[in-house]
Point group: C2
Chain length 346, copies 2
């Protein structure tokens, strides 16, 4: 901290609204300045950011606001915001004190002044990697938990298919499916990821969707009796093929459509009639609606991590300057596991 | 009944599998013969058919069997089968006796021998028109009840949109929505039907979808704050426009896609991303899954009919020879209300 109460603050600035695939140049690294104390009389907290989270939903915030958007767009010329793990440096809020570790929405910068710290979650368990609070112990973890257990209502012996299965959410859904006694198959886009699914996460089987000319045929091969539960992360042609392969009374939890986010003309769906013939329940969801479940989720997941019953793979980019390329990489599937950016060690 | 134990039996024979829109010529009237008694030792019942029901789902039974089909296809050269109201003429089953009135699956003919009469429902209330057991008191009634109350989980003050709203199911959904304290708008394809919706069934508003060039704009006009519940009977472009106009946590009960049944290339859906952004629950269903609810439904609906709180409009074609044109008419929307065929007075 400088004598003048100011510190250098590297920041990632959102340049302008994006059409199509985002590029690194849509985000600009600048050398800003942060105050080293919260303003006198404020209830804000000042945090030092340790880890930043790269999440697919952030793509929607890079587009010009439309009425269909469920999260506010980023402001051109302002710092990118997203989930992160941070350490409180100074606090004007009675619930937080210097030294506290927190996770929640922060800025893509070294230091952030958070004016409504009530939205932050204090970190209770730190015998696990702190970066986990961007993934398995953060929003993606609660997403997998709520989406799988609450929306998919799994029963022992059912068949489960997970797309984008090695990602931040998918790898957990697959492991939850095994805990629930289901048969689970995942798909991903490289051999390395397919190997992880089978050998690290315990999926019963897995395939590389990029090597399949006919997704319908591929799904028939892995699910000759059909799919009871589809955890949807990708959308588009994959969803259309899955619809043909669902079983009667199947459930589809619609978590994301990552294949569609960068398309100006979305893929069209032709097989929605299966929703009637197979009496399918398809439900879209976003994690914030399930935030009240988070404490219950945390008590469930922590022992599983400690006992090694649930594992988690992260892809950690070191240094805030790597954040733009890390985020962009999500949309070409370059990340292997949950994409995190290490800003500073604790 | 003839002295030889045989009676003339007009029948509607299914000619061959249909591609595209069905035509009257796909069904052929023949003069067959029926036995006037059930075979000795059989547990079958012989019924005289009074009313036959024309239902959109029958289109799927006219197509060549495909794995996605949820009901068996008709057999070329055999009599058409469907719901009807019948009177027992002779019975080998201890639960049925001559004179009993029943509704359930029967043949499109004057007399049918029903080998598994357990699937028939005995008619308990006959102070209402018997034809109602093909509609408001039969499969379509239970469809509206299960679909609206069970899948749409309506709350007072919510907004409800019903397509094909003057049809066998839609007219009931609109009236149920009013009973539930909802604001309900329906669409149909003629001025006469729109008038019925507003003046007979008590919809808050209604429009003729054929007069709208832009369905999205039409829905925005009727639902400036969005749609909480969509009772889906038509599919295709209407569904795509509805998705854009759903509210957060909206529910879509997918009852039918009548606009799509005769298309060899189904309309494509482009706005499914709304399922995530608006956290929509979309659920397909078919009535047989809800048959166990039928007794409860009956006790609910009968007093409403007697007290005039629920009304029902039927379109009755007189004579079995009219059955093919009545069925075909469903797919051009020629019927006004529930399409029934009167075969014989009680």
């Amino acid at each position: 901290m400088g004598d003048l109460g100011e510190v250098p603050n590297k920041q990632i600035i959102f340049r302008d609204f994006v059409i199509g695939f985002p590029k690194e140049e849509d985000m600009v690294l600048t050398n800003g300045i942060a105050k080293s104390k919260v303003p006198v009389g404020s209830r804000a907290v000042l945090v030092k950011n340790l880890y930043l989270s790269c999440d697919p939903y952030m793509r929607s915030r890079m587009s010009k606001p439309i009425s269909q958007s469920y999260s506010d767009s980023f402001t051109p010329g302002s710092v990118i915001i997203g989930y992160g793990v941070s350490k409180v440096v100074d606090s004007g809020h009675p619930d937080f004190k210097a030294g506290d570790l927190v996770w929640g929405i922060t800025g893509w910068e070294e230091f952030s002044l958070i004016s409504m710290p009530e939205a932050l979650t204090k970190i209770k368990y730190n015998d696990v990697p702190l970066s986990y609070y961007t993934g398995i112990l953060g929003m993606p973890g609660n997403t997998a938990y709520a989406g799988f257990y609450d929306l998919c209502t799994p029963k022992k012996g059912e068949t489960v298919y997970v797309s984008a299965a090695s990602g931040a959410v998918g790898q957990l859904v697959g492991q939850f499916a095994k805990l629930a006694g289901c048969y689970v198959v995942g798909s991903a886009g490289t051999k390395e990821k397919v190997d992880l699914l089978k050998n690290k996460f315990g999926f019963d089987d897995a395939f590389n969707y990029k090597e399949e000319n006919d997704l319908n045929a591929a799904l028939k091969r892995y699910f000759p009796e059909g799919i009871d539960i589809y955890f949807e992360n990708v959308g588009g042609q994959m969803l259309d093929a899955v619809l043909l392969n669902m079983r009667v009374h199947g459930r589809i939890a619609v978590c994301g459509f990552i294949s569609q986010y960068n398309l100006t003309q979305k893929d069209s769906i032709h097989n929605l009639f299966c929703v009637i013939t197979k009496r399918i329940r398809m439900q879209g969801f976003i994690e914030p609606d399930y935030r009240p479940m988070y404490p219950k989720f945390l008590e469930f997941i922590i022992p599983h991590i400690r006992e090694g019953k649930i594992v988690y793979v992260e892809d950690i980019a070191e240094g805030i300057e790597k954040a733009p390329s890390a985020l962009v990489g999500l949309f070409s599937g370059r990340n292997v596991g949950k994409q995190v950016v290490l800003v500073a060690p604790e």
